[in-house]
Symmetry: none
Subunit: 187 residues, 4 copies
Amino acid sequence: MARPPKARVPLKQAALERFVEQGVHATGIRDIAKHAGCSEAALYRHWKNKDDLVVSLFTEHLGEVCAILDQAIASGEDLESKVHAASKACYKLYDEQPRVFRFILLVQHELSRTLPTDLRMPQDVVHDLAKEAIKRGEAKGEAMVLAAAVIGIFLETAVFVLYGRLPGPLSRYAVPVAEASLRVLRK
Amino acid sequence: MARPPKARVPLKQAALERFVEQGVHATGIRDIAKHAGCSEAALYRHWKNKDDLVVSLFTEHLGEVCAILDQAIASGEDLESKVHAASKACYKLYDEQPRVFRFILLVQHELSRTLPTDLRMPQDVVHDLAKEAIKRGEAKGEAMVLAAAVIGIFLETAVFVLYGRLPGPLSRYAVPVAEASLRVLRK
Amino acid sequence: MARPPKARVPLKQAALERFVEQGVHATGIRDIAKHAGCSEAALYRHWKNKDDLVVSLFTEHLGEVCAILDQAIASGEDLESKVHAASKACYKLYDEQPRVFRFILLVQHELSRTLPTDLRMPQDVVHDLAKEAIKRGEAKGEAMVLAAAVIGIFLETAVFVLYGRLPGPLSRYAVPVAEASLRVLRK
Amino acid sequence: MARPPKARVPLKQAALERFVEQGVHATGIRDIAKHAGCSEAALYRHWKNKDDLVVSLFTEHLGEVCAILDQAIASGEDLESKVHAASKACYKLYDEQPRVFRFILLVQHELSRTLPTDLRMPQDVVHDLAKEAIKRGEAKGEAMVLAAAVIGIFLETAVFVLYGRLPGPLSRYAVPVAEASLRVLRK
DNA sequence: AATGAATGAGATTTCATTCAT
DNA sequence: AATGAATGAAATCTCATTCAT
């Protein structure tokens, strides 16, 4: 019987847009509310405060990325197909929702202190992939070191596109990035 | 021969420490001044404003990194020795001044909009290295894509150490990181 | 014969509890409603607004105290028995519902401006008692001054118990307080 | 060499005045600042926040009262002269600075939770007086119970004057209040 | 009838910066 | 030359109350 919530989704969209456009700290509640077409106070019915909104956005979208990665990896038969599928899926997501990716980049280091330690992150997914590959003899080295390298190749290529060092769309680099990753993983 | 300003160095150290500890936006002038053991107004004798301090810290330290990279690369004969030297030098800097690295990580994305576009960055150094290597037949592929991958491997390994996914010191990974980079560059 | 409102009593209990626990101003409608197990809007069905609730709680409980005092005083034959009965009855109420007393203490000074001036208060009851006693030759002095002293002895002893300066229960002090009051009244 | 503080005293005076006039909660920082003739932010250089200001005002003035009481009590030879001196001194203070007394009344119960437990209060002073008197055979009973009664007589008489039940000035009641107290204290 | 989402107004507080001393 | 008090502007957040469902 209660009034159905109307502001939640617009607030999330507006927040993501403004955060990405101006930076998290530079974006005020007022700005978000105005873009969402509602009052500032409405935000506080759905999140405890601004920080809560930021963290909630971050974990939500990070969860999405993990799910996509998991699915892509599960779809492949061997290491090669898994890595190609993961790279393709992630970069497709990025091209479709570049804001999500930019947001994660923006806040990851700042949130690193406050995030719940048990939150599953893409790093964990890739680490698991590396461990499996090593066990099956498809890769060689220390799993965590390999994971770092693979994530790095993925991320930095995206950053280069993001900042215009490399021309987009990012999907164009899915294959070379997968190949570079495989070169690092294999032996 | 005016006597040298006394507060400049303490202010820079205090600022770096507080920025890294709490985030740039969360750190106020009061806080910095208190940690530097001087007054709030002293800051404005050395920098135009807080932003100026942040940007100046960033470019200064980034310049350091570039210089170290340039020197290391110049010291090597071929691609292999250049990459190994670069990796070693950078990670040594990190182990000696981990705050510098964390600071750069923290602010890079937030500053990306305001930085002067002609500022030479580590990405440029590595890009040049890749271009040279390709020209000399030591590497194969598109220089910018290779640069992204190499930087990514470097950075993310450091991040893994920073956040405790990999045990430090970072120097321990100089060789494997160089080798992974070479595997991506060569052929 | 409309069915009786369900939320009224829980709201009153919750309000009293939260007011006493946190202070009147520090307690919000949300808080009260949550503790009462109903919606925020429900409050407005029973009271015009928050102030109305506060004043209504205050006058209601003050009325109770007056009624108990009146009854006790009427039950006694002479000044001595009246005072003993009043003291006993009041302190019994306090021991049974300490929140009521604390609430009255908390808000009395804050409400002193807004209360209807014709509201009968315990002070009036005791004043009447003193006037009567003087008329009957059982007490001597100015009625209002005596009333102030008697109320003071009553109240402050309760406050001392409330804040742990004196060990409870308050009933234990009914006789000494009555005796002290009588010593002030008589002569 | 620094700018000397100019807003501290006006802020304290304005705060006391507005608190007493409107109640602590009903008085905003803006109101205080306006009456003090300075900006709202100035307050935060001298006190951590509004609560800090309230507590600091309270303890300061309570300390004054304790000092006056101590001095008055020390000036008397026996219980009788001590009580008369205390009553006279306190009520004189009240007549000269009624705001101070009203402020203490207003906030005492609300602050009771947050105050430092080791803060010396008038209650302690009177308790000590009662203990001494009992030891010297000048009074009889339990010291804390007597103290409660004496404080009560003092306070409530002042409250009656404050709210117009008794005509002022309060000093007029110094003698009767002292006499009533002595009747309670003495055997 | 009853909910709880939404709101406008206003609260407190923080900030980078300026300024009087 | 150097301080730290003062400030205007803006930030985040809370509040009692209303309103759509």
